[in-house]
C-alpha cells in the first residue's frame, strides 16, 4: 500500500459494510454522540450511577462489535495469527465497548432525567 488517505479509509469502511449500511452506521453514531453531548451539557455533570450501568454494558458492546466485524469479513477467532491481529481485535473491542457505554449512558439520561437529578442531589 503506497499511502493511506482519509478518503481511502472511508472507502475501506464502505467496502466492509456496504455503502448504505456504512453511512447509516455513521449517521447513528453521530446521532448518539450528539445526544450524549446534549445530555452532558443539559445536566452540567456526569452521573456516576448512570456511568456504572454504562460500564457494566461495556463487555457486551466489546463482544458484539468483535463478532459483528468477524461476520462482515468472513473471519473467526482462529484467524488471529500474530500480535498485530490481537491489537486490531482489541481495538475493535474497545471501540465497541466505548460506543455501547455512550449509548447506554445517553439512553438512561434521556429516559430518567428527573429521577437521576434527585439522586444526584442537585
Amino acid at each position: 500500500m503506497k499511502e493511506l488517505t482519509f478518503g481511502t479509509l472511508i472507502a475501506v469502511f464502505e467496502e466492509i459494510f456496504g455503502h448504505g449500511l456504512w453511512w447509516f452506521m455513521v449517521a447513528v453514531a453521530v446521532a448518539i454522540t450528539t445526544l450524549y453531548l446534549y445530555v452532558l451539557i443539559r445536566d452540567r455533570s456526569m452521573s456516576m450511577r448512570k456511568f456504572l450501568w454504562a460500564q457494566l454494558s461495556m463487555p457486551f458492546g466489546a463482544i458484539a462489535s468483535v463478532l459483528y466485524v468477524q461476520t462482515m469479513t468472513s473471519s473467526h477467532f482462529r484467524d488471529i495469527g500474530g500480535p498485530i491481529d490481537v491489537i486490531v481485535l482489541l481495538g475493535v473491542a474497545v471501540m465497541g465497548a466505548i460506543g455501547c457505554a455512550i449509548l447506554v449512558y445517553t439512553i438512561q439520561s434521556l429516559l430518567h432525567e428527573k429521577s437521576e437529578q434527585s439522586l444526584a442531589g442537585e
Binding site: 503506497k2 455533570s45 452521573s47 473471519s75
Partner: protein, 451 residues
C-alpha cells in the same frame, strides 16, 4: 445518598472542539487546491487499454495536463476488479463484486473509443481500430493487458467451466463464479483436487496458490473432510519466484498435506475420464535419453490456468522483445522507466510490459506515476526522474481469514510496507482484512488517480 464526583462540560469547550474540526477540514481543501497546477500542451496521447493501468493513467494525466487530447482505446464495456476473482472462485463473493462499467471510471476530458485496437504503427505513429478508424499520436501508452490462451490446453474449452469438476477462475468474473460451482462440489464430496499453473509469465503468480489454499481450507471444514487429496502441479521447480516466499509456501503445503508436482506443465485434459496430461522432463532412465514425457494425473476437481501472452495487436506491431519471451510477446521496454527501447514516445504499462515482475494491480499502482512522470517531463522538455524497481504485492491468502502480505521487487527482496508491524511471511488476520476489504477500496482510489 452522597453526591458523585463528576466532570463538567461547557458549551465553550464544545465550540472549541467544533472549531478544531473545522480547521482540519479547511487544511484538507488547501492541500487539494495547491495540487492543481497543470501544464499547457496540445499533445495527442493514445492509451491502448482501459483496464487498471490505462484508466489510472488517464485520470492522472487529466490532472497534470491542460489541453492535451487523451484518447483511450478499449472495446470492453465492463471493467473487471481482477483481485476479486480468487474470492469469487471460493464462494466468498458473487461475480457482480468484480464488475463495473469502464466508462464510469473515466474522467471528463478523455475520449473513450469503445472498440478494440486492431493495429499499431510505431513508425507512422498511428493506432488503427477495429472499424478502421486511424488515431495519430504524439505519445502512445500500451496497456491492453494480456490474453489467456485457453486453446493451448487440449481437450479444454471455456464452456466446460463449472461442470464435471473443471474450474478456470482467470477467465473472468462469470467463470470465477462457475469455478466455485465446481470447486464447492469438490469441497462437499471430496476426491482428488488438482491445481495447476502455466509455464509462461502470468498475472498475479500468487493466485494459483491462493485458490489451492482456499479450496483446501474449505474442503477441510466441509463434507469432504478426511475424504480428499490436494495436488499442486507447476512447470517450475519452485512454488514462487521469490525464494524466501517459495520456501514458506513449501512449508505450508507440507503442513496442509498438499502434494507438489514440480516440472509438470498442463498440456491436455480428458474431461470424460477426468485425467490431466502433463509434460514433464525426461525420465530418470538414461536409456530413454533427454526430452520430455507425458505424466497423467487423475482429478475430481481441476483448476486450469492457461498460458498467457501479449494480445495479437501488440505481437503484430513490432513492439515486442525480439530475443526474450518470444512465444509470449511482451513489450520491449526499459524496466526502470517502462519506456520502449526503440520508440521513445511509447510506454508500456501493466501486464503487457516486458519486465521480469509486475503483472498485478499493485505493480500498476507503482508503474503509473513513473510513466506519468516521464511522459509529462518529455512534454515539458526535461528528463523524468521517477523509476520503477519492480514493486509488486501479493496478499497471499493461506486460508479463509488469513493471508501473508508479501511485497517484493525485481531483486527478489521483500519490501514490506509496514515493517515491524505486519510481518510479510506470517499468516495474519490483518493481511486477510487488507485483501478482503481494504484492497478494493484502495484499487478504486487508484483508478480515480487518487492513490
Amino acid at each position: 445518598m452522597s453526591r458523585y464526583p463528576g466532570f463538567n462540560t461547557s458549551r465553550r469547550s464544545l465550540l472549541k472542539l467544533a472549531a478544531a474540526v473545522g480547521a482540519t477540514g479547511t487544511l484538507g481543501l488547501a492541500t487539494q487546491s495547491q495540487a492543481a497546477k497543470r501544464i499547457a500542451t496540445r499533445a495527442r496521447i493514445v492509451i491502448v487499454g482501459a483496464g487498471a493501468a490505462g484508466t489510472t493513467l488517464a485520470n492522472r494525466l487529466v490532472e497534470r495536463l491542460e489541453g492535451a487530447e487523451i484518447m483511450l482505446v478499449d472495446g470492453r464495456q465492463d471493467h473487471y476488479y481482477q483481485p476479486g476473482f480468487s474470492l469469487i472462485a471460493a464462494g466468498l463473493k458473487t461475480p457482480e463484486y468484480s464488475i463495473t462499467k469502464t466508462r464510469d471510471w473515466l474522467p471528463s476530458g478523455v475520449t473513450l473509443i469503445a472498440e478494440p485496437a486492431a493495429a499499431i504503427d510505431p513508425v507512422a505513429k498511428t493506432v488503427s481500430t477495429a472499424s478502421n478508424k486511424t488515431l495519430e499520436y504524439d505519445f502512445l501508452v500500451v496497456a491492453p493487458g494480456l490474453v489467456l490462451d485457453h486453446g493451448a490446453i487440449e481437450g479444454f474449452s471455456l464452456d466446460m467451466v463449472g461442470k464435471n469438476g473443471i474450474g478456470a477462475l482467470y477467465a473472468g468474473p462469470e467463470y470465477a463464479g462457475r469455478t466455485w460451482e465446481a470447486a464447492s462440489k469438490f469441497t462437499e464430496e471430496g476426491g482428488v483436487g488438482l491445481f495447476t499453473r502455466p509455464s509462461t509469465e502470468m498475472k498475479c503468480a500468487g493466485a494459483p496458490l491462493k485458490h489451492t489454499f482456499l479450496i483446501d481450507d474449505i474442503a477441510s471444514r466441509s463434507g469432504a473432510k478426511g475424504k480428499y487429496e490436494a495436488h499442486y502441479a507447476c512447470p517450475q521447480n519452485v512454488l514462487f519466484s521469490v525464494p524466501i516466499v517459495s520456501e514458506k509456501v513449501r512449508m505450508l503445503f507440507n503442513s496442509r498435506n498438499i502434494a507438489t508436482h514440480y516440472s509438470h506443465t498442463l498440456k491436455a485434459i480428458d474431461p470424460g475420464r477426468k485425467i490431466a496430461f502433463f509434460e514433464t522432463p525426461a525420465t530418470t532412465s538414461p536409456a530413454v535419453g533427454s526430452g520430455t514425457s507425458i505424466a497423467e494425473l487423475p482429478y475430481d476437481y481441476i483448476h486450469i490456468i492457461p498460458p498467457q501472452r501479449a494480445p495479437e495487436v501488440i505481437r503484430q506491431s513490432g513492439l515486442s522483445w525480439a530475443d526474450k519471451w518470444t512465444d509470449q510477446g511482451w513489450v520491449e521496454c526499459d524496466q526502470k522507466t517502462l519506456r520502449h527501447l526503440r520508440y521513445p514516445q511509447i510506454f508500456a504499462l501493466g501486464d503487457v510490459a516486458g519486465v521480469p515482475k509486475g503483472k498485478t494491480a499493485a505493480s500498476v499502482k507503482w508503474q503509473v506515476p513513473v510513466v506519468e512522470d516521464h511522459l509529462v517531463a518529455t512534454i515539458e522538455g526535461r528528463e523524468g526522474t521517477e523509476t520503477y524497481d519492480g514493486y509488486t504485492s501479493c496478499p497471499l491468502i493461506t486460508r479463509v481469514g488469513q493471508a501473508m502480505l508479501v511485497e517484493f521487487d525485481y531483486h527478489n527482496d521483500l519490501v514490506p510496507s509496514f515493517p515491524g508491524v505486519i510481518a510479510p511471511l506470517e499468516e495474519l488476520w490483518i493481511s486477510w482484512l487488507m485483501k478482503e476489504v481494504a484492497l478494493k477500496a484502495t484499487y478504486s482510489a487508484m483508478l480515480r488517480g487518487k492513490a
